[in-house]
Symmetry: C2
Subunit: 191 residues, 2 copies
């Protein structure tokens, strides 16, 4: 996606150790026009890839919410985000999966209420980053627990050097990313 | 806002102790069309209230992100969400405020990077709930630390019985909410 790739080239900062700062338009401050365009791009690319009749866009809090909402707006289906802390309103059981925590060490728990995801759902999973794929794998587990059908995985930015695409290959669904970042001689290359 | 009020009347569940479950369209699962309409309604109502030239919509993660993004889309200005955990990319100092935590007890910290908020900004603060006002007060403190000007506060749902509107009155800015929930004889009344 040209506008996204150009924005990353212009504003992303490579901090080292594989960490790329895109806080100015993806992770902390959000560019609404770019986010709207990202949602439309996912809707268009998944349609081209044969992913149709999606009933729900699923993501994990926090940073997946903006691109997932924009995709849900484009598809006009509900967006559901996995919670990391069980709210008091999630009283009647929940699907639960664990993913390694990048910021705190240990694991982070992800929860979805069975009220909003079930066997009749066709799910598009959207997140901001495809890195190792382990957070996405945890959301996939939630989808599988619900009996819903996973139809595709879309991530705004792929960190190619972390190998998430290979990790998710066994799922047998289209994995679409809008910008791919690789490391060459300790600098980032964006495609 | 009629569509929102009707949705609350139809789907919200009163759990007791002042807790209202709107997980089906606000807090866990998000209705994209309703969220888009909420953003447009805030843009329209704040313009009518004389709040103009907003440069930034500010909220706090997690559940403020969806309505804040929709408002930012309607106004076509960036949306910035206060983080509860400092990401590794937030390296060069940050504004910090604390709010009582409803889920965990104790306090939750909220952080904003000075890179994205400063003296030239005119801020519209958007959140999902106006309850006691203490989370919003913490975000207001972040805005004040930055030197930006707070121009208005918008919340999707006001829990009238928790008194947040009185708590925020001293700020001297318009406080606009789209649905007002009160408690009468231990049942909710939505206006």
């Amino acid at each position: 996606m040209k506008a996204l790739i150009e924005r990353i080239r212009k504003e992303a900062v490579y901090i080292g150790n594989g960490i790329i700062k895109v806080d100015g338009f993806v992770n902390h401050q959000i560019d609404p026009a770019l986010t709207t365009a990202i949602g439309r791009e996912f809707a268009s690319l998944f349609a081209q890839a044969g992913v149709t009749q999606v009933t729900k866009v699923v993501t994990a809090e926090v940073s997946g919410i903006a691109p997932a909402l924009a995709t849900a707006q484009a598809l006009n289906v509900p967006m559901l985000y996995a919670r990391k802390h069980r709210p008091i309103t999630m009283a009647n059981g929940f699907y639960l999966a664990e993913a390694p925590s990048h910021t705190k060490g240990g694991v982070v728990q992800l929860m979805i209420s069975p009220e909003y995801l079930g066997e009749s759902d066709r799910v598009l999973l959207i997140d901001d980053f495809l890195a190792t794929g382990s957070t996405i794998e945890a959301v996939v587990q939630l989808v599988q627990q619900s009996g819903a059908r996973l139809c595709g995985i879309g991530c705004v930015i792929e960190k190619v050097f972390e190998g998430g695409r290979e990790y998710l290959a066994d799922l047998g669904v289209p994995v679409i990313t809008l910008a791919k970042i690789d490391l060459e001689q300790d600098a980032i290359v964006v495609r």
